[in-house]
């Protein structure tokens, strides 16, 4: 095989892997990236007209592995998204993607899920109380090892005394909404911090 064919094959292989690693991106965007990187490799590796396998190998080395390059693209997209996030759902989706890229992202996701989970439990209690007053509420349990139980009403009421009564409705709404807001603000602050580490303040 002529040397230039080997070089071209190397490039094609690299770009195929990059394409695979970018599969999370919209097709047109991924294609644009592939074309730009292809153009870069050709410009960077060709001296005169010929592509040598050595020059191509050196260029690919400087670019980093397809996986590394792709994860940098995804990180930058994340930073861009983090900027405009105003809705809890979008923030959570961005955090979810962040979790796939770094450990700190995974922590933020974990805390967010726990926070939203707790918030949902209180809200469900508040809403379900009027429909199922016998089973929904906050119980002080007889069992001394495990003394409190927030019951959503899916199973039979636990052994013990229900302490909140109808207060479950306003308190559940209040605590649920409060936890929701706290969790949302925590997510936003984390995203802003992520964005600051990637960018210089200019305004």
């Amino acid at each position: 095989m002529p040397e230039s064919d080997m070089a071209i094959q190397k490039i094609a292989e690299y770009l195929r892997e990059l394409r695979g690693a970018l599969s999370a991106l919209p097709n047109s965007e991924a294609q644009d990236i592939i074309e730009e990187i292809r153009s870069h490799i050709h410009d960077s590796a060709s001296s005169g007209a010929a592509l040598s396998p050595e020059a191509v190998a050196a260029t690919l080395e400087r670019l980093g592995s397809p996986r590394e390059l792709a994860s940098m693209y995804r990180m930058e997209r994340l930073a861009e998204r983090a900027r405009g996030t105003r809705s809890p759902w979008l923030a959570l989706r961005t955090i979810y993607q962040w979790a796939g890229l770094s450990v700190s992202g995974a922590w933020v996701l974990l805390v967010s899920l726990v926070g939203y989970g707790l918030s949902a439990s209180f809200l469900i209690c508040a809403v379900a109380k009027p429909f199922n007053p016998e089973r929904v509420g906050l119980w002080k349990l007889d069992d001394p090892r495990d003394s409190w139980s927030l019951h959503l009403g899916f199973r039979a009421a636990p052994q013990g005394t229900e302490v909140l009564g109808w207060w479950m409705v306003p308190l559940g709404l209040l605590v649920g909404a409060g936890l929701f807001l706290l969790t949302f603000r925590f997510g936003l602050r984390s995203l802003h911090r992520l964005r600051r580490t990637l960018s210089l303040p200019g305004r």
Binding site: H42, D43, A79, L200, P201
Partner: protein, 106 residues
């Protein structure tokens, strides 16, 4: 090098007109001796574009393949100026702080 500095360096390199990725890399290396990992520049260019600071166009070249050129948008020029101002005042403050150290050298 912090990403933010790289952001400013890229915006500054485009101040004089459109360039494609490799030209930006070369300009950074030649004009400012900034050796930038190539793999970081292209993802950053793509973000700066989606933030509306840059715009890009594909241009057919003699090389036989098209090249993706970037240029500053009006917003990009504003942002470059803001960042440059921030950077100047930051480094001036740091210089004041470093002045005693420089005297100490002698």
């Amino acid at each position: 090098m912090r990403k933010g500095c790289l952001e400013l360096a890229i915006l500054a390199s485009l101040w004089g007109g459109r360039l494609y990725g490799l030209e930006i890399l070369r300009r950074l290396a030649v004009d400012s001796a900034l050796i930038v990992p190539e793999g970081t520049v292209y993802p950053l260019l793509s973000r700066l574009k989606s933030e509306g600071l840059l715009e890009s166009e594909w241009v057919e070249a003699d090389a036989g393949h098209p090249r993706k050129y970037y240029r500053l948008t009006a917003g990009g020029r504003r942002r470059a100026l803001q960042m440059a101002r921030f950077w100047s005042s930051f480094s001036a403050n740091l210089d004041d702080l470093l002045a005693p150290l420089k005297k100490g050298e002698r």
